[in-house]
Point group: C2
Amino acid sequence: MHILITGAAGMLGRKLADRLVRDGGLGGREITRLTLADLNPPSAPAGFGGTVTPLAADLAQRGTGAKMVAHRPDVIFHLAAIVSGEAEADFDKGYAINLDGTRDLFDAIRAQDGYCPRLIFASSIAVVGAPLPSPIPDEYHTTPLTSYGTQKAICELLLADYTRRGIFDGIGLRFPTVCIRPGTPNKAASGFFSNILREPLVGQPAILPVPDTIRHWHTSPRSAVGFMIHAATMELSAVGPRRNLSMPGVSATVADQIEALRRVAGDQAVALIERRPDPLITAICQGWAPGFEARRARELGFTSEDDFEQIIRVHIEDELERRA
Amino acid sequence: MHILITGAAGMLGRKLADRLVRDGGLGGREITRLTLADLNPPSAPAGFGGTVTPLAADLAQRGTGAKMVAHRPDVIFHLAAIVSGEAEADFDKGYAINLDGTRDLFDAIRAQDGYCPRLIFASSIAVVGAPLPSPIPDEYHTTPLTSYGTQKAICELLLADYTRRGIFDGIGLRFPTVCIRPGTPNKAASGFFSNILREPLVGQPAILPVPDTIRHWHTSPRSAVGFMIHAATMELSAVGPRRNLSMPGVSATVADQIEALRRVAGDQAVALIERRPDPLITAICQGWAPGFEARRARELGFTSEDDFEQIIRVHIEDELERRA
């Protein structure tokens, strides 16, 4: 079995490749080849016995899709995208990569005769925009308030149409915000959700720029990878033509996050959080999704954590203990 | 004031141009110039004192957008598209015209400095797909089951994003099925909705290929033109970022249509309808929208007929009496 990951150098791409190698197979089939595509493709994951092809791929260039599917991967995880802030700052680049780059990949699949891979697309909760109900039903309309969310919503529509036409067997996953992101604090507007947990867990201070009443929708990196594995192996005929699913997650306020941290790591960890309100970040967050019903996804077997304490414990197991 | 109509040779494009010329102005401003763009552009409407520019424009060709907005029309009615059946039969042509052609127009507007026209986009109820509630709420998601519906839904997303960015002041109108279409019977799957009324009204037979329990969503050509005039002149700041609106209409079963015909034209007209069931057309119709709440559009001042008898009377006034 040959698997292609686009955006393979990103946090989720790396974790997905590691998981595939750990599992050794996908849906009971041995993985013999991994194509890892990115601007600067990552090296081979440790312990993989098959062939790894690192592929330098720039989705802003037309023809990149053809290069990526030239060897007809059986399963494609399409994670490559530029992030929300960059897509908002650079209109042309956002559309060129997130929309046209995805379409270039889709059309490259279409151009190959007798080829119909499973395609898992990383969509985003940014496809919805305020004002929003809580929780958001599966049938709620997509009215994004960013160019990034617009591009993801458009790709969802393309994915459903190309799937309906038999060009590939696609499924789009609307990921919750992934928390706790490993690594160092970044300047993304959503970065604080991870920072206020990850840093205090290792004795470092962190800044909270929003009121602790802000409610948002989260899942762990482990669950996010789990969604992709499930999407790659599940029976899709039961899904029907509505191929874009809001993934399950944990709806939590910042106060819920902080109390979960207190239960796991005590008052001394919570004391490392410094409240420094930022009106701009607060305004941005207030437009974000508070949570989804995710009824269809749960019925189809997708699972996430039940509460924020579990999300923190997953981080400790996967990032702190495994690396210790 | 300079007005551009794309798809000006189509039924709605012609009726819109006629109405603009009859009104003499738009929103209290005199119309001095009309640009009528189409593959084979129509001639000038009778009685117009301003400048008419027929523009041969093929949206399958890149650069057509720049040609259409070179003289910076104040208001753009973007009606040009290939229809549902053709977009389904020809994948490439559908995407090239309905999606890329629209984006070419949008980007041509963006390329002009200091230019921000009002843009009215003809969307469609094909952006939704079965299974559907009745009526469909404004917040219902778009899960089209045709490439045409996919292309319209994508253009809605682009319209909202380009509007949010200040590139133009856009509004998308999801037209109900327009009934009674003037002209001769056509082979579109939806053609019978008009045929079974228009033909008997002039003593001609018509074929009904579906059970009379089929429920669908209709408006008259006069109301459809009225939606566009209202969209071009209303205050849009109150609409906010959700710029795509399901227009009001009449939700009626085929039996409702037939009873309205009986009230207007008697049993002898109804007797001209021959029931000849077509399983394929019946299956297609069962996936169509039964009706919309259209709450936001009504609150914003869009109006349609109240029942099917009014729709028939509009046809008699506008097509039979005016031409008599």
